[in-house]
């Protein structure tokens, strides 16, 4: 029994052909729209009411929600298991970071280049993997191998600072410079909020289009999809490249928010694992799962870190993530969102 196949995406009944023509929200239940509106309003006014610490946690939540949405395109929608998404975070972050440090180019330009670089890299991995018939766990290992290979490569590449890292210049300033992404936490909050909202809307839209249905067909049964005349290779490639490009844009945010990049941390497999944990806990293949998962996991991690600060327990946060993953996999393999959605009465009438 597959965790993926148990889920139904928020906007995923076969009758959405009309909805696609009727606009983005035509297929969403009214109650869901109201809750979504409340949620969005809460997020919009949050920086005015919360303190610095809470704001930094919320930025972290949105960052993981964004990355989760990006990973979900590949795994949740098209069913291709990647365990090497840190590669794309790193490529995006390093591309934009290096262009900024060496040539003073704005991050928005670096974002486009970084996303393109990541998409090409994702395309290479995807093309090799799919053409050579590398499937399932073997494909996941292939993605890890590429990420680790690149990590060691960057560790020895002087132009990007090698293993001592790439630093973005930090200066004290009173005003926010949105063009160069230099400024306050509030600015970064709204940037990542916009990115997450954009990714959410993009995913929602994609699932209503032909490509979304093709992906789900491939995910459920690749042979059957092929028999029906779907160009499986092409649509899997679209999923990989889009997911890689989206992840790279998250990497650009990481670079400019944290101002330092080390190959050891940014390309590490732990990043790849971290960014998919939220999706698994929220619900693979669902639209809201990545967001819910990021909220649950980050809150859990921060609370435990805060509570045990005095005890000096190093691994407590990661430990709790591991336990959360086990509990979800064993007791609710579809993730939290399908269950919560039922509880909130947001099931689509059939």
């Amino acid at each position: 029994m597959s965790g993926v196949s148990e889920n139904r995406v928020l906007a995923g009944s076969p009758s959405t052909g009309e909805a696609a023509r009727g606009g983005l929200i035509a297929d969403v239940p009214r109650r869901a729209l109201i809750l979504l509106g409340l949620f969005a309003a809460l997020l919009l006014v949050a920086p005015a009411t919360v303190g610095d610490y809470l704001l930094s946690v919320m930025i972290l939540v949105l960052y993981y929600a964004y990355l989760g949405l990006a990973w979900n395109v590949m795994m949740g929608f098209a069913g291709q298991f990647s365990l090497g998404h840190a590669l794309y975070i790193g490529l995006g972050g390093y591309t934009a970071g290096a262009l900024f440090v060496h040539y003073g180019l704005p991050p928005w330009f670096g974002m486009v280049v970084g996303a393109a670089v990541a998409a090409v890299m994702g395309g290479v991995i995807g093309a090799l993997g799919f053409r050579f018939g590398v499937k399932g766990v073997y494909f996941a290992l292939l993605t890890i191998a590429f990420a680790e290979f690149t990590r060691i490569l960057f560790d020895h590449w002087g132009w990007v600072g090698a293993s001592s890292g790439l630093y973005l210049p930090v200066e004290y300033r009173d005003t926010d410079d949105l063009w160069l992404l230099r400024g306050s936490a509030t600015m970064f909050y709204y940037v990542i909020l916009a990115m997450t909202a954009g990714a959410f809307i993009l995913c929602h839209w994609l699932l209503q289009r032909r490509v979304g249905y093709y992906w789900q067909a491939i995910r459920e049964d690749q042979e059957a999809a092929q028999t029906l005349g779907i160009d499986v290779f092409r649509y899997k490639m679209i999923a990989v490249m889009l997911s890689a490009a989206m992840t790279a844009i998250g990497g650009v945010f990481y670079a400019f928010y944290y101002n330092n990049l080390y190959p050891e941390t940014i390309f590490s497999m732990h990043r790849s694992i971290e960014l998919m944990l939220g999706v698994i806990i929220g619900g693979i293949g669902t639209l809201f799962g990545p967001i819910l998962g990021a909220i649950v996991l980050t809150t859990l991690g921060e609370m435990l870190t805060g509570l045990t600060e005095d005890l000096g327990l190093d691994g407590i946060k990661q430990m709790s993530y591991g336990v959360a993953l086990l509990v979800i996999i064993v007791y609710r393999p579809g993730g939290l969102w399908p269950w919560l959605r039922r509880r909130l009465g947001l099931e689509k009438p059939r």
């Binding site: 680790e148 190093d314 691994g315 591991g322």
Partner: protein
């Protein structure tokens, strides 16, 4: 490059490679029999290393003497893990099994981190720097012990699978699941035994590796990936392949570490993994898929 130097490096790589091979043997046996990819393999390895370390520092037990204890402990752990958790997922999709064992791995790694802290630990043996001079070769005593025990364990395992009733029964389960059930084999029990044996292999390998190198909690991911590289190189499910892959990776690590840069050594392993996945996914000694 003097030839003596090169020979010494090759011998050291070969001996370490045998220990790697034993570690990968456990991974390969588990996959070969129940088609489960044990993502917590490196973590079990690190647990074994810490167990050896604790027995040495707390009870003064030599690693080689502690070996049966660690192996038995890991067998019980593996058996229980399969019975309690993995067995529920024996028919789940590949990625669900993978994620389950990833969760187990995270709990183990961070458990060791919380108990032992992030610092590297090792055992201080009085014969740690002894060596044998064989012609132009200078061979470390600890490496000889480690490789000898690893090779012996691998032989024992091969004999177990070939000659004992339980070993034959396990091979029957691997060959034909339904057939094994039809003739009345207790498949679930045999699966748990296999998982235990795989874990015990890792236990022995971990103890032996502590003779050669330090341990710290974050090594677990490296060992898991190393195990995957080796078994995929040799062929998942093939026991001889695991040993061959271990030796090849040991040699390639030693050579690239000495000739190019130590920090680049695993890049070659990952490069090798990519090539094998693409060109010969069944591995060097694996059966045609």
């Amino acid at each position: 490059m003097p030839i003596d130097f090169l020979l010494n490096i090759l011998v050291a790589g070969l001996l370490t490679g045998l220990v790697y091979g034993l570690m990968a043997l456990g991974l390969s046996a588990i996959f070969g029999v129940m088609k489960v990819v044990n993502f917590a393999h490196g973590d079990m390895m690190v647990v074994a290393m810490y167990a050896t370390y604790t027995l040495y520092t707390a009870a003064g037990l030599e690693p080689v003497a502690a070996l049966p204890l660690v192996a038995a402990g890991l067998f019980v752990f593996g058996f229980a893990l399969q019975r309690g958790l993995v067995n529920r997922f024996i028919n789940a999709t590949e990625h669900m099994q993978f994620l389950l064992l990833l969760g187990v791995a995270m709990v183990i790694t961070n458990g060791t981190l919380m108990v032992f802290g992030p610092d590297a630990r090792n055992v201080q043996l009085d014969y740690a720097f002894d060596s044998y001079n064989v012609g132009p070769l200078i061979v470390d005593k600890v490496r000889v012990i480690a490789a000898g025990v690893a090779g012996g364990t691998a032989l024992l395992l091969a004999a177990f699978f070939r000659f004992t009733v339980t070993g034959k029964a396990i091979r029957a389960c691997a060959d034909n699941f339904t057939g094994a059930q039809v003739v009345g084999l207790h498949v679930n029990h045999l699966y748990a035994v296999t998982f235990g044996i795989g874990a015990a292999c890792v236990g022995v390998a971990g103890t032996l590796l502590l003779l050669i190198t330090d341990v710290h909690p974050h090594l677990s991911t490296d060992y898991t990936l190393l195990g995957f590289i080796i078994v995929i190189l040799g062929g998942l499910g093939s026991l001889g392949g695991a040993l061959l892959g271990g030796v090849l990776v040991g040699l390639s690590e030693a050579l690239s570490g000495a000739l190019i840069a130590p920090s680049l050594k695993s890049m070659f392993s990952f490069g090798l993994l990519i090539l094998v996945l693409l060109l010969r996914p069944q591995g060097l000694l694996g059966k045609q898929a």
